[in-house]
């Protein structure tokens, strides 16, 4: 019996025959040294790494809050005239 036509299976079967790209097995020059140095730096100062991470998140949150307030302010402009309390003998108070 003929199998029903399945375009995905047909396509993936063809894609599997595509020539594989050679993967280099050696790390770029200095890569291992760089990674180990970063690991050591984070190990030596975990508190700094912790604050660095949370400060960055805090800055992002502050920027988002600022953008929200700015958008809201643009949509709701301040009234042009400010009501003035009229006290006899003291004009314009």
């Amino acid at each position: 019996m003929k199998q029903p036509h399945d375009p995905w299976q047909a396509l993936i079967a063809q894609a599997r025959t595509a020539p594989m790209e050679a993967t280099e097995v050696t790390a770029p020059l200095g890569f291992a040294t760089r990674v180990v140095a970063q690991w050591k730096a984070a190990q030596e100062n975990p508190t700094f790494a912790f604050w660095q991470r949370w400060s960055l998140r805090g800055a992002c949150a502050a920027m988002m809050a600022y953008a929200l307030v700015a958008t809201w302010s643009a949509g709701n402009p301040a009234p042009e005239s400010i009501p003035v309390l009229d006290v006899p003998g003291m004009p314009g108070l």
Binding site: A10, Q14, V35, W39
Partner: protein
């Protein structure tokens, strides 16, 4: 390898560098397979994976071999990167950036597995990448391993930590999605 791991756990820098050099090929191969559109960032991703490996190395107890443990970190890091990416839906040939006639002429649907010219298989491979990019990150990871790399469900389970039933159900759903997309595209090519 186990000896190197023990030395790294004791804080040996030279052993750590050797471990990175020994696992680089394996890690970069996973990154390239799962993040084909981020070739310019592959070194950054690999660095991220190795840093996670070092940070968590004290937690490694076995019994699975160390390279398998690292592969799981690599796959999960790729998954996180995919989550940060925007999905690229494929609805028309414009989304694929491909001419319908070229598509129809090059990708022959009838006999999968016949002597496909290299240009056709390369085009199919590009098409597969674009279609996979339209799926959710978890679906991309599962379908790539299952259908493209032809890994078994248990291998995928080991690499991702996901259960077999979850893998099977996700694969079934994503295949259904892609089949439907391809059928719609085929209808566009039919005069």
């Amino acid at each position: 390898m186990d000896n190197l791991v023990d030395l790294v756990k004791q804080g040996d820098d030279a052993a750590a560098r050797q471990l990175v050099a020994a696992l680089y090929g394996q890690v970069i191969s996973i990154v390239r397979k799962h993040l084909p559109t981020q070739r310019h960032e592959e070194e950054d991703v690999a660095q991220d994976i190795f840093l996670k490996m070092f940070t968590r190395i004290q937690q490694y107890r076995g019994p699975q071999p160390f390279p398998h443990w690292v592969s799981r970190i690599a796959v999960n890091t790729c998954l996180d990167r995919l989550r940060a990416q925007k999905l690229r839906p494929v609805r028309t040939f414009t989304d694929l950036g491909m001419d319908p006639t070229v598509y129809h002429d090059t990708v022959s649907w009838s006999d999968a597995g016949d002597d496909t010219p290299a240009s056709n298989s390369r085009l199919s491979s590009e098409l597969v990448e674009q279609l996979l990019a339209s799926l959710k990150p978890q679906e991309q990871i599962i379908l790539r391993m299952l259908d493209l790399e032809q890994k078994s469900v248990s291998e995928i389970s080991q690499l991702t930590g996901w259960g077999a039933s979850k893998i099977k159900v996700t694969a079934m759903r994503s295949r259904r999605k892609l089949t439907s997309t391809l059928q719609k595209l085929e209808m566009e090519t039919t005069p």
